[in-house]
């Protein structure tokens, strides 16, 4: 009989049912979406911060007092000993070898213009950086390359699709200006009696020392410098909170005792603070909105449950014990909470996935551990909303009927 009455209670008024479910479902959606988003954003945020580039530098432990460009190098193979993943996020490590060399554009005899001044043909001294060109986007995502092939309008793009062929190189914008080269030209690099040539794939704008450099494949630089298997430093980009990065540093320092491991404090410090601010902001909003939503839905439920006042009076008149009467309505509220909550949870997951995709380009992975949390919260809210009935249960039945008549 209990469940028979329950079924009738739930089906009593279509309009009311729809309204209750709407209130519960919207509350559930919001809370689920917010919690899911909040939990997910921490990870996404730390990854977003890597848009600044490398935050850890590995260099040789011993730096001579008198600095010479090619002194103080480390073994390039150390890159292989850097973990490729740290606490669930991908780590990027790219080696760099710097040397000073002479650069000159290679002009084929047919292209040579007799009116070119001698100065234009004399070599320019600049810094050559050998690196894994394909790895640049991971440690320098902000850099911009410009390819202008055969006079077509150059389109700026990030270093993503940078040179892959072993002969290709990137030239910083200022270096390109001084050399008078555009993408497609060839460069001759010479240092210490050794020579290398390369084809200019694109020009590079970084807003830093790289604008004055020529970036070549690591092997070519090693050959030019006469330092096979060596690198000046390794730039590492490791996403994570301040604490996670600290742990990474400790691990590296312990695992690579012959190498100096340093955080790039410009970024690590600012990021720690910014991450805290943004995270707290999100948390604050989520908490406030969540709390207010809970209150809102509870009050809505309370309003709706007042309709049951007459039924409570009637059942009391029939001699129903308070506990039994309340149980009926609390179970009704709980069931509605469960159904509305389930609906809300599903919609909330979908919503947070959509939001995640729109904001970060990657949908938020649904965390199913939120489900029991939200469901129980919704049930509690619905039941708490039935709370006014407890007060009604104390009132004498005659009073309820009097209020009715």
């Amino acid at each position: 009989m209990f469940w028979r009455i329950e079924r009738r209670l739930l089906g009593a008024s279509r309009g009311r049912l729809a309204v209750v479910l709407l209130a519960l479902a919207s509350g559930g959606t919001i809370i689920t979406a917010l919690v899911n988003l909040e939990l997910d954003t921490s990870r996404k945020l730390t990854r977003e911060f890597r848009a600044f580039g490398a935050n850890v530098i590995l260099s040789a432990r011993e730096q001579p007092a008198i600095r010479v460009p090619t002194e103080g190098v480390l073994d390039a193979s150390v890159v292989a000993r850097i973990p490729s993943e740290w606490e669930g996020q991908r780590v990027a490590a790219v080696p760099f070898l710097y040397l000073i060399a002479q650069a000159k554009p290679i002009v084929s005899p047919s292209q040579a213009d007799p009116s070119d001044s001698v100065a234009a043909l004399s070599p320019t001294m600049l810094v050559v950086a050998g690196t894994r060109l394909a790895g640049l986007p991971q440690v320098a995502p902000g850099w911009k390359t410009v390819r202008g092939l055969m006079g077509s309008v150059p389109q700026g793009e990030s270093v993503r699709s940078a040179a892959r062929s072993p002969e290709a190189c990137l030239v910083g914008t200022r270096a390109a200006q001084h050399l008078g080269v555009i993408p497609g030209d060839e460069l001759l690099l010479s240092a210490g009696g050794l020579q290398e040539s390369c084809a200019v794939e694109a020009t590079l704008t970084a807003g830093g020392p790289e604008d004055d450099q020529v970036l070549v494949p690591l092997g070519a630089a090693q050959k030019l410098a006469g330092l096979p298997g060596r690198a000046s430093l390794v730039q590492v980009s490791v996403p994570g909170t301040g604490a996670a990065v600290d742990r990474f540093l400790a691990r590296l320092s312990a695992g690579l005792p012959d190498v100096a491991v340093r955080p790039v404090r410009q970024f690590t410090e600012a990021e720690a603070l910014l991450y805290a601010r943004i995270h707290n902001l999100l948390l604050g909003i989520v908490a406030v909105v969540g709390l207010l939503t809970v209150l809102c839905v509870m009050t809505a439920m309370a309003t709706l449950s007042l309709e049951r006042a007459r039924d409570v009076g009637l059942m009391k008149m029939l001699g129903g014990p308070i506990s039994r009467i309340l149980r009926l309505f609390l179970v009704e509220a709980g069931t509605l909470g469960l159904v509305g909550g389930a609906l809300g949870t599903l919609m909330g997951m979908a919503l947070s996935a959509w939001v995640g995709r729109r904001v970060f380009g990657v949908g938020a992975a649904p965390r199913w551990e939120i489900v029991p949390f939200t469901l129980s919260l919704m049930v509690m809210m619905a039941v708490a909303g039935a709370f006014p009935l407890r007060l009604l249960a104390r009132v004498k039945p005659a009073a309820i009927f009097r209020g009715e008549a």
Binding site: M1, I5, R8, L318, G319, P321, P397, F401, A405
Partner: protein
Amino acid sequence: MSAMIEVRALVKEYGPVRALNGVSFTVWAGEWIAIMGPSGSGKTTLVNILGGLDTPSSGRVAVSGAEISSLTEAELARYRAEQVGFVFQQFHLVPYLNALENVMLAQYFHSMADEREAAEALRRVGLGERLEHLPSQLSGGEQQRVAIARAVINDPKIILADEPTGNLDEANERIILSLFQELHRSGQTLLVVTHDPSIAQLADRRIELAHGRLARISAAPMEEENGPLTALSRPAGASW
């Protein structure tokens, strides 16, 4: 006959207002009492207290030997479930339960719901074909009959009716009153609040209230030659 209801010096106050001001009377088992009086005389208050829906400010009320004036809420609920059956002018059926379930609800709060017994009770009031109907699908008279079936299902000591035919037309009124007569014949104690003298005629005695006090108790004649309600038809298919 033993005393079914004993009321001594019953007082009920609502703030400054005294709805009942020292009422005393006795009702014997099996009696049909008509409670009459102008509006504001305290009729409904008296019925509420007798039915355990309200508690007196002072005075004593004993039903079937048990003192009810100082029972707790829970004990009053028990009292209502076991000893009292209500019939109201507005029927007060649960709108989303059908006829059968409305009667079963009373069983449920008493002890346990029994569908067969409930169906039987409805058949006896002539609603055997309407078990599954919702109150909105029943006429006023049929709804009141469901209320009556609900009132008697738990074998109560007393039945309290507050203007039971107030919302009904003449034909349905006749049906309801003949049901009451059957109940009376089978020994049920009935207290019926009414303002209609022709209904009061059917009762054994009349209690008249005025301004919260007992104005008069008189015996109503069991039959009246030219009364308008002499010829009452029994509803088809009903038997007691």
